[in-house]
Symmetry: C3
Subunit: 426 residues, 3 copies
């Protein structure tokens, strides 16, 4: 996963343009995703697909003709989506278009201006301080022209039309945790699911420019969103910080409880955050007209780590073990959702005779053991109103053990799985 | 407000009699309140309006003819509602009718005997200790006679018949915090509302003798009480202690949440108390047949400060700044209730394009700011089921900012106010 | 109660056999309980009544013919429900059938093998260590034969068919806290109830072998279980440890709240435990088909005290004062349930005039007192939707005082008891 990030790192992405196309091209070497193009000017809900932005070069030259700020060194140096410019300006004129971070004098900030025409440069505060009162030649060799918004989509059908959605944004330039980590984990998760056997749920992976990409996708698929039973936005998921999960707008959706269960069962600190309408594309999936059960899984929380939206969010900030753990958490969440069924006991009056079936310890009087206990819990709550996750949470037992107990009991005909359309509690 | 308290302080009020009439007369110099008289003997629910009590003089004279306890010095010296008496008694006979506070030897207690005929004197414990074994002439020149119970009422119509009620008791004699502070804050609140523009709610101010006054008023207006959408009993609201708000019997009424929001947003300690059927006239408003959404706003909690129901609850105990803050809290609560509407988003599918309308920061990548965040929250929860207070509380934002965001969004046609009769959550 | 335990202590009980019959015979000297026999082979739900187990003698003799383990010294020495055996075995062959507790070398463990045919001996770890590599003669002179499962039942009719169930297990051999304490408290509780006047509820006491006894009883009375409005399993209730109450599967049943109220009001530590499907016969009463409101009252929690299921759970471990307190808690719970009625105020609009009826302190201004306060609470919540327990819990007052207030108010016609079939909240 880290290698994939390294390949994608130098590409200058934005909400539209060749950067996204190149990125999706790299991903297609891993999974057969479809690329979609939505033409500039297309109305998507309250928005319009903007012009396509492409950039070839950009710099600030001092009076000696030296590039004191150079896009070729780091694509963060350009205010993303800058209009083209070629001009010679005094320092004070120039400064209205410069962005730096005084608290971190060696880092370049990441700034954008998508919806207001502007141009600008982002530079380290050391660069900023070294600018003398002089005239500067600025050049942004970009173009804003008719074109398209590009996004990628990969659909893996399951045995039902019910979907689990994974979504990540592909519009950030050279930023590793905020962008590339989510892309990379999503790609490897998709690869694994594609290799394995057919599952109950269908899986949809979206690789979309933030905000406008999600809006475009939702606008084109409004009537199909009811199929999305659970969803996760993946972002900032490659650094070694503790996991953060931001709940869906619903707050008690099955996905919210599933992720909380998985994180609780790990021996690491983590945090569950309430929904807020600011963040990543869960903003759109959870807008009131959709109100989809989509949360956001992160490690360090965006905006809370100093490297956020700076050049320090680089290849050193994300680590292979952290990416591996994130992939593993996603897998555990998927397993939980896949096996989270509702059962009804076939002998609801008193416990069935488990000992006779070899499902109970033979010698009484001592400790019972977690497997025996799990069987008792499943039998006790197999009333058609509790999912296995409800049972695991009430019992304080790991879902995996409860799920295994249900499987065994079902094999012995002691519980029967209800059809999915039951009015289960969760 | 403190000046008004000073004017009212010397008057000897009780549940009936000239003291209340004089008090209301003073208030009429500020607001055009109506005075109502309910005749002695009138049945009001389970009660009967008692005889009118008036008092001219009262004293205890020692054998030398000296007034050792003198009503003219402090009207608390007489057990309120005492029957008349003229007698000469031994000290031991007298003592059965004397009340003092050993822990506070310089303070006169406030005691009453409304519903059992009795006479008595309240005196400092120093006075009590100085009484020799002697004969004493006692005189209470009071009368209990056919008359009326008097109360004041001030109604300020709004654009709807829905009412906000403010109620305070006017039956305590020379006690400043417990009685006069509530009266004074209510009067100045009414004055301000009368000066301002017409509001959505109508406002009703009651100046009533405790318990029997509330019962009389409710008995006469039973069928109109459904108009009371929110109510607050004001008492003990002039001392510099922290605010205490006792919730209505419902416990989750809009008024309960509104006051809690306002107090939480101040940078001062405060306490929210659960409902209890003991206290002030919220007891009657919250009796099970009415169950009105009426809470009780105090600063120091009655019964919890040592000066409570003693002569130390005097003009020094209440302060102009404390009264000013209390008035301000009432105003903030009113503003919240007035603007606590329910909205529905006109573009519920995805966020609308706020940047295009100048409602979003132009440069992305940095901090978002509370105004932008408030707009996102309002849009996200403008589903016809959340009031602005629901939104502010869920977002952890001040109501004022959320309300301003809703106003702006409505101006841009992005949200529409629902008619008040919607089934809003709170 | 301790004397009764002492009489029952030496008897070798099991889930079937003469031990249970002798035990019930002793109990019949105290209460006229009925003895029921369910024949071996009878189907009870998913189970079959097992063969009857009886035992006359058992020992392990060393090569010198000395009894190194002797059933006549302590009936725990035999694995309960052991099949008969007569054999001479090497030490290593024997060891597969021996159970001891290394951490408590002087205690004999209690072990059973009901549902898998096996034989074995339980011995102290000191005995275990002293066994030389020798040949041993083992003898278990037991029989497993057609017969019956025996249980006792005592029913005390009340003025309604609604029942309160007390259940305890009678299948453990010489164990005092785990078994005999529950039996003894149940017997003395039944004796007291039988002596007193007729009560609202009917009372049913079950003295049943654990698990299979409960299953047999439920199987024979499935259609009558709806009458059980409240139930408590009594076990481990004779030691001096703090009370533990395990809630019913419902978690908020009236019995759960009643026991919690009574324990909260005592000045002793206690603990309320969530339901779990492992434990005593609440497992069967709370199986999903029944879901009866039956909890489990203990002092030290089974499995949590070291003496649990060992020979140290003996006559010294249970104490007369602890048994007395347990009986008293049961009585308080019964009183609460008997008097936990729903009232409706006859004057719901405002408070009624309590002073006139002598139900309020005559002199106002001072403290109110808990009796007056209780009356106000009852009147305020006497709306047909709150039980007295709801009122006591909300008011933070003892049920006994609230109940007394309701009685007084009812005497004065101020509240009226609703028929029991009302849709009261709890």
């Amino acid at each position: 996963m880290h290698d994939l990030i390294a390949v994608l790192y130098p590409i200058c992405r934005s909400i539209t343009g060749e950067g996204v196309r190149q990125t999706l091209g790299v991903l297609r070497q891993h999974i057969p995703l479809e690329t979609h193009e939505v033409a500039t000017g297309t109305a998507v809900y309250d928005w319009t697909i903007p012009r396509e932005w492409n950039i070839r070069d950009a710099y600030i030259k001092n009076a000696l003709g030296e590039r004191v700020v150079d896009f070729r060194e780091n694509n963060l140096h350009v205010l993303n989506y800058s209009t083209p410019i070629r001009a010679t300006l005094s320092l004070s004129e120039l400064k209205a278009h410069l962005f730096s971070i005084p608290e971190h004098p060696k880092w370049i900030p990441y700034r954008t201006s998508y919806y207001k025409e502007n141009w600008g440069f982002c530079l380290t505060d050391e660069q900023m301080s070294s600018l003398r009162d002089d005239h500067y030649e600025v050049c942004i060799d970009s173009s804003l022209a008719e074109g398209a918004l590009t996004y990628g989509e990969y659909f893996l059908p399951g045995s039902t039309a019910d979907e689990i959605l994974f979504s990540c944004h592909v519009c950030h330039p050279s930023l590793c945790n905020d962008n590339l980590s989510g892309i990379s984990v999503a790609v490897f998760l998709a690869k694994e699911l594609a290799k394995g056997e057919r599952r109950r749920y269908s899986y949809r992976f979206l690789f979309i420019p933030g905000t406008i990409g999600a809006i475009a996708w939702l606008s084109r698929h409004q009537n199909e969103t009811a199929r999305i039973k659970h969803g996760v936005v993946l972002t900032c998921i490659g650094d070694p910080g503790p996991f953060h999960y931001k709940k869906s707008r619903r707050g008690d959706a099955e996905i919210d409880r599933a992720v909380a269960h998985v994180l609780r069962r790990r021996s690491q600190p983590y945090e569950i955050l309430e929904f807020s309408p600011y963040g990543y594309d869960e903003r759109q999936f959870c807008s009131p007209g959709f109100n989809l059960p989509v949360g956001c899984l992160m490690r360090s929380m965006w905006g809370q780590f100093p490297q956020y939206h700076t050049s320090a969010d680089d290849l050193d900030f994300v680590t292979p073990p952290a990416l591996g753990e994130s992939l593993s958490v996603c897998r555990e969440v998927i397993d939980l959702l896949e096996y989270n069924r509702v059962y009804r006991s076939t002998s609801p009056y008193c416990e069935p005779a488990l000992g006779r079936r070899g499902l109970y310890r033979p010698t009484g009087g001592g400790d019972i053991g977690v497997e025996n206990l799990s069987r008792l819990w499943v039998l006790n709550l197999a009333d058609g109103h509790h999912t296995l996750l409800d049972i695991a949470d009430r019992a304080g037992l790991p879902f995996t053990i409860v799920s295994e107990a249900a499987r065994e009991l079902a094999e012995h005909g002691l519980v029967a799985e209800l059809p999915a359309a039951t009015d289960a509690i969760s």
